[in-house]
């Protein structure tokens, strides 16, 4: 078995009186595509945000590439964040930079790589997500689907060892979901290490190598997609998946 890229160990996170994560552990190895599913409020986004310490866990450990993160060590956290690509539900492109400016921002200013090299690489990444002709556009001139594809190119520009997707299609109009899913699927087929929080059940069933069903802050079920999406062991998971697949087929 290859070395673990991401390890989450017994993480707990509380917002006020509500404990969102109640001891969650997961491991992602090189090339794993882990789908994280669960109802709204089950803690799946919080779990994903805990990995680069965008949220600091109250208890437990985050280990990235064998290195245990210390939330008090800002320098280490910043260095490790630069090795993970994060894709947000609401895209979060920088509105004051063009599409190309968004993609080269971190490689040039965080990784301090030569600008010419970053631009060439960014253009290739934009071509890959079908936005070669939008390099000089401002984010507010793009559709949601285009913004999210640009955000994926931005996340990849750091040459991350893993990509984290936080409900990447939940803020999109239904007709724009497909173009973003296609980009993510292509990345999965290249063997990239990815964690995907999503409500797109059939997509998750298709691309994931492993799925995790989060329920009320704990992992209620975990296994290969064939089990989670077609033959869940727990009644909660069965009901959840059925509800979502029905909704999907219904639309």
């Amino acid at each position: 078995m290859s070395e673990a890229v991401i390890e989450v160990r017994a993480v707990r996170k509380r917002f006020g009186a509500h404990e969102v994560l109640r001891g969650v552990s997961l491991t992602a190895h090189q090339g794993d595509v882990v789908a994280i599913i669960g109802a709204s409020g089950s803690g799946k986004s919080t779990l994903l945000r805990c990995i680069p310490l965008l949220e600091a866990p109250d208890e437990g450990e985050i280990v990235i590439g064998g290195e245990r993160l210390d939330p008090a060590n800002r320098h280490q956290v910043e260095r490790v964040r630069a090795t993970l690509g994060f894709v947000f539900q609401s895209f979060n492109l920088w509105p004051h930079r063009t599409v190309l400016g968004n993609v080269i921002e971190a490689p040039v200013h965080v990784q301090r790589r030569p600008r010419g090299e970053c631009v060439a690489e960014a253009e290739a990444l934009l071509a890959k997500v079908g936005l070669a002709d939008k390099r000089d556009a401002w984010p507010n001139e793009l559709s949601g689907g285009q913004q999210q594809r640009a955000a994926i190119a931005r996340a990849r520009a750091m040459r991350p060892r893993a990509l984290l997707f936080d409900e990447p299609t939940s803020a999109l109009d239904p007709e724009l979901v497909g173009e973003v899913l296609r980009v993510i699927r292509a990345l999965a087929e290249e063997g990239r290490t990815m964690l995907i929080v999503t409500h797109e059940m059939s997509f998750a069933a298709d691309v994931s190598s492993r799925a995790i069903f989060l329920d009320d802050g704990v992992i209620a079920e975990e296994g290969p997609p064939g089990q989670i999406f077609r033959d869940p062991a727990t009644e909660r998971c069965r009901a959840f998946v059925r509800r979502h697949l029905e909704r999907h087929l219904g639309r």
């Binding site: 260095r79 994060f86 920088w94 401002w138 984010p139």
Partner: protein
């Protein structure tokens, strides 16, 4: 013909005051901007700091600028410790007093404008910066400040124009900038209308250039809003 000659001569004399008018504006706006940024950051980052800054803004925004200039120009010299301090060679100069008052006053307004700009920075843009591993300083320099300044620029442009006009008050502490020279010409010639028209035209040209410059900067900083 003689009328045109007078206007031409007046214009030439008044133009001699432009360097001082521009210098007072540039100096006070530059110092005011640095102070405003510090005030806005102080206000955003500590509770006692916020109270201090709002008291500062209350005083400098709530009293006339002319009073502030007089206070520093006439008032500072009354204190023995001021006269004894290393700052006295500066505070003795009307130029420095006017500049100081203008800068302190500008900082009060500009810090409020900047506060609005900071509040308008989208949370997601900041989060995206954190997620790629930006340090707090880099985040401030590359994401927060450009967005805050872009949001604040239209209002700040108004403040810049107000500052150009405010420098005319410096004539009341003996400074011969455009308005000061105009006043001197009038006291010799009693031709107030012509002289003040010329002076007004100079301010209009200065502010027109400034407005264009702000518009160019706005375009350079990218689209407004998100």
């Amino acid at each position: 013909m003689r009328e045109l000659d007078f206007l031409g001569a007046t214009m030439l004399q008044l133009l001699g005051g432009v360097p001082l008018t521009v210098g007072l504006t540039a100096g006070s706006v530059a110092a005011g901007a640095v102070l405003a940024l510090l005030l806005a950051l102080l206000r955003a980052n500590s509770r006692p700091g916020a109270a201090l800054v709002s008291a500062y803004v209350f005083v400098f925004r709530g009293t006339p600028l002319l009073l502030q200039i007089f206070f520093i120009y006439y008032g500072a010299g009354q204190f023995a410790f001021v006269r004894a301090s290393v700052l006295w060679p500066f505070l003795r100069e009307p130029w420095c007093c006017a500049l100081l008052a203008l800068a302190l006053n500008d900082a009060a307004y500009a810090s409020e404008i900047l506060r609005g700009g900071f509040a308008a920075v989208p949370k997601g843009a900041v989060e995206a910066g954190r997620a790629v591993g930006m340090t707090r300083l880099l985040l401030l320099r590359r994401v927060v400040l450009p967005l805050a300044i872009r949001q604040a620029l239209p209002a700040y442009g108004n403040e810049l124009i107000a500052m150009v006009k405010s420098t005319s008050l410096a004539s009341l502490v003996t400074l011969m900038e455009v308005t000061g020279i105009a006043y001197a010409i009038i006291s010799e010639t009693y031709r107030a209308i012509e002289v003040f028209l010329c002076a007004g035209a100079i301010y209009l040209v200065l502010n027109f250039a400034l407005t264009r410059a702000v518009a160019v900067l706005e375009a350079k900083l990218g689209p407004a809003g998100t």
